[in-house]
Symmetry: C2
Subunit: 219 residues, 2 copies
């Protein structure tokens, strides 16, 4: 557990919690660490939503596959970020999404009821954890607002430009990497890959954007 401390201290769930308390806390919460290879499923759709996940290394994607096999990417989860917390906290019985390792991953799993309900030891950190969870959920909510803002646009071009503009604003630069390849970007924007490629080409020849692989620049 020790080797993950630096990452865990950056996790919004443990914001403002001292290192020594954090270690004790993790024991009390029954936190465990599991390893997943690239492309492996961390949580499968339909599984019970008991656990909160924290990415210790690697990264993962939250996806949803519909009846016809169309994949939709809901979000990307990076190191020190939390996932599946909304389902665990809301007490839904089955996960409506799948979480897949994007690269080899170490994932910390915490049974959410251990966070929500005071334990026998009556340790005093639950309040802080719940406060942090609340702030994290508020931030996730804003993330979804942005995703909806992007996908509510009617054309591929507008979706792409809205996404890139938000990304640029977030990093504070006009030049940045995105965490998606073309197919994944299409699945995030909810458009066709081929149409997306065509649109990127057009924007490039029009001198509006520049891009190489997953690096983009707004001109």
């Amino acid at each position: 557990m020790k080797k993950h401390l630096e990452i865990l201290k950056k996790c919004p769930l443990f914001d403002g919690i001292e290192e020594e308390n954090l270690i004790r806390m993790l024991g009390c919460l029954g936190a465990k660490v599991e390893y997943f290879d690239k492309k492996y499923t961390i949580f499968a759709e339909g599984a019970p939503a008991k656990y909160i996940g924290i990415v210790l290394s690697g990264s993962a994607k939250i996806i949803q596959v519909d009846y016809y096999g169309n994949r939709s990417i809901l979000s990307e989860v990076e190191r020190s970020e939390v996932f599946a917390e909304a389902f665990a906290c809301a007490g839904v019985d089955a996960l409506p999404v799948t979480v897949v390792a994007d690269e080899p991953c170490e994932i910390m799993l915490i049974n959410c009821s251990h966070i929500l309900h005071t334990c026998a030891n009556n340790c005093g950190f639950h309040q802080k954890l719940i406060f942090n969870l609340m702030q994290d959920l508020a931030n996730k909510s804003i993330m979804f607002h942005q995703k909806i803002e992007i996908t509510s646009k009617r054309t591929t071009r507008e979706k792409l430009m809205t996404y890139l503009a938000l990304r640029a604003k977030k990093v504070g630069r006009n030049s940045f990497d995105i965490p998606f390849d073309r197919q994944e970007l299409a699945d995030y924007l909810e458009v066709e890959r081929s149409g997306l490629s065509a649109e990127i080409s057009k924007l490039r020849t029009e001198g509006i954007i520049e891009c190489r692989k997953n690096h983009f620049e707004l001109l």
Copy 2:
């Protein structure tokens, strides 16, 4: 304030809080009630996101209007429900959405920092409020997941059918009202009103759905 107690007791924010405590609490939180006429703006995009709103009577819609004037409806807020909590809790400086009264409304406004930060009186209900807020935010997150599930579909027909199926599942019946007129439903599904009307007609002649005004039935 007394006349709103029955509604407030149903508000998820005050879940598990006794009536007598609730009254004192509201005073301590500095809760105030404002009246808004139909179509009036409760919160405007760009306004500071300090306040959490609770619908005491009437209903409201959370909308987003883009650069070109296209309206997108994010959600509907009914009696005893909370709104704008994510922005207030996450501490964003300006609201990215507008909240509009759908009918004449009484709205309770609470400065979110009064909920988040323990007051001088050191009253003991903050923990419970924060816990409730956390659960509410988790539920909102799930709501957004569903909205994304709906709008990620590629055709108007699929979007509509996904929406209606979720709605039917929620109420547990195949026959139900929706809180939207045609234009609003189109703005919620992120499609054209005329195309939506055409699709509803088709589904009707195909014997898949039945509808009159905002009442729908899945056959």
